[in-house]
Amino acid sequence: MAQDTVEAVITGKQATRDATAASRRGEAWAALVFLTPWILGIVLLTALPMIGSFVLSFSNYDLLSAPRWVGTANYERLLFSDPRYLKSLEVTTVYVLVSVPLAVAVALIIAVTLSEATRSANFFRGVYYLPSLLGGSVAIGVLWRQIFGSSGLVNISLSGLGFQTTSWIGDPRYALWTLIILNVWQFGAPMVIFLAGVRQIPKEVVEATIMDGANPVQRFFRITLPLLSPLILFNLVMQTITAFQAFVPAYVVSDGSGGPIDSTLFYTLYLYLEGFRNFRMGYAMSMAWVLLVIIAVFTALSFYASRFWVHYES
């Protein structure tokens, strides 16, 4: 069966699409069937909670007692009179803008370098993925203290070289940067996605360019990069969304405080502290909706810009 279709592909390449109204209607029905689980999910499990949270963002809901309508007070406060909120926005923006491009670039380079199915490439891919396996486990907090704390590995190396040392995670000037390193260190997920993409590039195309005498760098820019562009877009968008919502790294490294003095107060960490610890769920929900708008704008811009550099098969 599959063999037949492959034959058909090769012979029927020049066939053009000839869509009639009837087949289009059939297609819409098919789409409905395929989308049924998703539609049920989004209506029952996602949309209702989302609408609920939107409505509650105009209330003083405290998790524990009945909400009272407060109009746009929550939004006014977070936009105009909450310095901690602005701080969390600043911290998160730096984190996103620095760590996302870095992580995606590293992931791409490593994936392309290690794309062969050889034993050594397999081994290295495994090793490079290891940090991502740790995810946000409680152990990360300890590990980071072992590396970036005042008597951590970095300082042992630096003082061995005669440099002045400080506690990198305890100093508000550097604490955020240790979390950026943490994010870049865990580049496994985009790497594997790129890897799967690299394996989708038809070997014939690669071989053809080798015949043309292209060197590996030329091949990367001429073939790999354009063919991987949908996945680059995917990884950039997803990493951006994830980074905007980053919570666990700051939570485990700063013991849930976002310290020292709010230097790692990520957006969602502040949201969580306000909602669950300070009983201002209404306020937290207004923060969530502002974040949604911010992310949506970023994503829309990425998609808009992608017209100029993302290359789809069609």
């Binding site: 998790l63 506690s167 305890g170 100093d171 405080s257 310290g259 020292p260 003095i261």
Partner: protein, 430 residues
Amino acid sequence: MTTFPRGPRLDRRGALKLSIGGAAALWLGSATQGFAQATQIKASWYGGQDTHDRMQQALALFSEKNPDIQVGVEFAPFADFYDRLPVQYSGGGAPDVHRHSMTYLFDYIERGLLADLTQHIGSTIDISGLYPGVVEIGTAGEQTQAIGNNQIAVALFYNQEKLDAAGVTGALDNLTWDAFRDMAIELGQAGGDQHYGTNDAGGFIALFELFVTQRGKGLYSDGALGFDRQDLADWFTFWHSMRAERGAPPPSVTAESAGFQNSPMVRNLAAMQTGWCQQLVFFQALMTQELGIHACPSPEGASDNGHLIRALDFWVAPARSAHVEQSARLIDFLLNDEEAIQTLGLTLGGPASDKASAILAETADAPSAKILNYLEELRPLASPQTPHWISGHGELESLLNRLNASVGFEQTTPEAAAENFFSEADRILG
């Protein structure tokens, strides 16, 4: 199932599966029948594994003595417990009886979420032997919504060896705040570079509460702050001067010292540490050198030393629980049953009654004995009051900590930080 032989015929393996399922159903059925009369309640608490072990043992004893009540248990570390609890209250699945920290207790009391235990007090819950402050804190007007499960006080822990080496042990005899500072600075200097006298306790709100109590004020009064801006500015200034001369570590070291194993004293960077008295056990477990325990500094010539001895953790039942009566019996058991007291030991904090003190003294190990002694000796010297915290305390606690760090990093002055605390408190308590 077998009475409708309409489906495909059972092969042998299918029949086997069925009979296993049937046996399981039978077993489950009989199991539930056996307890048909028993009321199911759910108890929950936070703590470490030692607490979990001892609590489960105590509950097993309870079930033995009260076959009509079946107790299901839920437990988690403190942070996880308080991630889950508000969600449970909000969704309607809160446990019938649970442990509650004073940090958050009044957030729940003031919203009317906790059951009034008054009608069970005296009849079901015997409070006659309990120390002052164990019942009072959870009592407002006619209602008692929380009953303490311990009684504790703040304390100063010290590394005996280091104090002796620096020749400052004598300073403990008349420990004023100034003497404490001089002593800490001496200890820091004696330890050498990157060594400090004590931990930076500028963010430790219970110690600040002691500080204002000694000035005849309180942390709160009538739902608002009970002290003045100047008190807080003095407090921040005190700790800033400690940091300036290595009496206390710089804020970057403090920032990475959350958790017992990271505390400067355990890391051998400091000679002293402030904390809640029962923490002596945890610090001692992490150190080889012997630790002493002493009352915290007090002002020159005060009539009492201003220490507050009271309950910090409580037993409560949600107002929505259908089994407050059973919960009350469990609370009484945990507070008064001799075997329960013995089983629990000091895992929930210091003893809440003379009876518990006496039982625990019999079997206490060295650090536990020090804690019991400390409380025993402190009791006559302590303040007779048992003030309590209020709704919003948890947030103020982290605010104090953050502002103390800001002063430490020289991002603000003690006066400005105090000002900031008051304006934030206005909003939080508003």
